[in-house]
Symmetry: C2
Subunit: 345 residues, 2 copies
DNA sequence: TTGTACGCGTTATCAC
DNA sequence: GTGATAACGCGTACAA
């Protein structure tokens, strides 16, 4: 009897049916070249024995792993939403996702190395803050898709939404409402933060406003940074509108302003970016910008898979057009106010 | 020269130093029995060659993998917060986390099977909705810790916060404020939802109120379910307070009530559960219950690791005491109102 | 420290 | 077209 103490192996299944290991392997990989009857027998025997393939063993020699690495900052609900869509899409094309969580104690480089160690064939980076050269190097090692930001160097695939245009839409909206004194709460020196900041500055200048002193760098994309930025704003005369680099910052800003009794949007308008669940719900009702996470996930999977399964080699760079979502945190400024920090140009 | 086209192997490193594979293996596993000079030589050679261990190969024969599987619903920011803490804690004790995302298209069973295939030695389930017997079976296969819920059967380790008591604290708080007409928005038939629902009913009865018609089942823990529940509440006379099974439900409830012009907490008080970022921030300011995610993560890691590294065999069941966090969505009911749905008992 | 026998699928290559 | 045989991959474990 082929019942050892440990788990059944492929050989056990083969013995039971009276075929060779190789045949069993073919059956499990759904490869052609096995007769219908044999195939059925193998599957039944495997089922009887409770056999499951040993992934470590398979991974060791197989050319393909059908594994995709995804690095994301899961505390960001926008990232989480993209991840969910990626998992679904990957499933549809026969791939499995290995998810690496980027946290304050676990940097992106480390997460990526781990994903590679797990033999991922392709890599999806959600909103990476890595330098472009690092991303480019990674892209040379294996098919990589950057989601949500620009990459200046190299030939890595990119799926993103036009951040500059998204922020410009927000500025246009505010200017239409009559705002002249607008401040941007930026999120540090990363590429995404930079694009949004530049988008803000350009839009302001286009409308004839200066940008001197109109940008306040919160340092990163968290609620805490937003709260800190708001406290800093409160130290001098408030602008009539605050354009935040993402929803989390906006939520932090709202939190602090509101606690100080500032009426939103009566006294100050506030906007976010991402249209995350945070923005859509519960008394926040944030005017923000949608980045179509589901669509970005779909395109990203298409991009890796076309390289992996169909040998595509040319660079894909897909830029979606973001859409402003006007909710309740923006309104016309109070009459009689003068512009303060943002001086006319 | 040992430069093949493919990646360098352990043998390449060994050849370069003039030692055996076995020695190199020992060095990389930080095992004792290698002289200091040899160790240094090996590390330097490995560095020169750009050698990285082949995890698949190691996993195939090694007794230990030092991998922990974590199943979580990352769209839930409370889960995400626990995951982040787990990653950090695992790091400190020399383990790596493999994260499985539970989504609408990816059930828990499937996620867990995948984690096992990856050779995880221990499993951490965050707020699982699996039947107790499935969890118990899993616990018999490998060290498992359930986080955030009770498990009636089996001897699986559990780290949780006392949900019944948490909800009771909320009810006490509302009753103290003078509420008599309180409705609970429940989240379906899962264990967590059940505990909270029962906690609600018991607390109400303890205060002398009936529970007939005082529970509205929203079906699950999402914002959408909360919105639907709120619409249903609006069809008849509103209660003076709504106790939701978690923050996401509460946020959905708030969203709909507020859009209908209901004053919170003037007309209706609303409470959540989890003290997630959703509750803490941005105009929501939700009265809720803290479950100490960092502490739960810490204890959960301690639990698996004590089984894995120190051979513990007795069951661990740690129940933390939740703490109510009173914010701005609860207040005394308007004078002159009569109790409606929740009839006195 | 070092041989060296595994472990468990995969992938040629070969026979019918 | 079906299936078998055997070599192979890359560390680990254990005896020497």
């Amino acid at each position: 009897m082929a019942s050892r103490s440990s788990r059944p192996t492929m050989q056990d299944v083969a013995d039971r049916v009276g075929v060779s290991k190789a045949t069993v392997s073919l059956v499990f990989r759904k490869a052609p070249g096995v007769g219908d009857k044999t195939r059925e027998d193998v599957l039944r025997a495997a089922d009887d024995l409770g056999y499951r393939m040993n992934r470590a063993a398979a991974l060791m020699t197989a050319r393909r792993s059908h594994l995709l690495g995804v690095s994301a900052q899961i505390s960001n609900s926008f990232h989480a939403e993209i991840v969910e869509n990626i998992v679904t899409e990957a499933d549809l094309v026969g791939y499995e996702v290995v998810l690496g969580a980027v946290t304050p104690t676990h940097g992106e480089e480390r997460v990526i190395e781990t994903l590679i160690d797990f033999r991922c064939e392709g890599m999806l980076l959600i909103g990476p803050e890595l330098p472009g050269t690092s991303i480019s190097n990674l892209g040379n090692r294996l098919p990589t898709v950057v989601i949500g930001r620009r990459v200046g160097v190299g030939s890595t695939d990119v799926v993103r939404s036009n951040d500059g245009r998204g922020i410009a839409g927000v500025v246009d909206h505010l200017v239409e409402l009559g705002h002249e004194n607008v401040v941007h709460v930026a999120a540090g020196r990363g590429v995404i933060a930079g694009d949004r900041r530049r988008g803000f500055e350009q839009a302001m200048r286009r409308h004839g406003f200066g940008t001197e002193g109109a940008v306040l760098d919160a340092g990163d994309f968290t609620e805490e940074a937003g709260m800190e930025a708001a406290r800093s704003l409160l130290e001098s005369e408030l602008p009539t509108a605050v354009v935040c680099a993402n929803d989390r910052l906006a939520v932090g800003v709202l939190e602090v302003l509101r606690r100080k009794g500032v009426d939103i949007p009566g006294e100050v308008s506030v906007t976010g970016y991402d249209d995350s669940i945070l923005a859509r719900m519960g008394n926040v009702d944030l005017t923000t910008v949608s980045q179509q996470p589901a669509e970005q996930a779909r395109q990203a999977i298409q991009a890796v898979v076309s390289r992996l399964d169909r040998g595509r080699t040319d660079r894909v760079s897909k830029t979606l057009t973001p859409e402003i979502v006007v909710r309740k945190t923006t309104a016309a400024p109070r009459a009689g106010r003068h512009s303060g920090q943002a001086r006319g140009g």
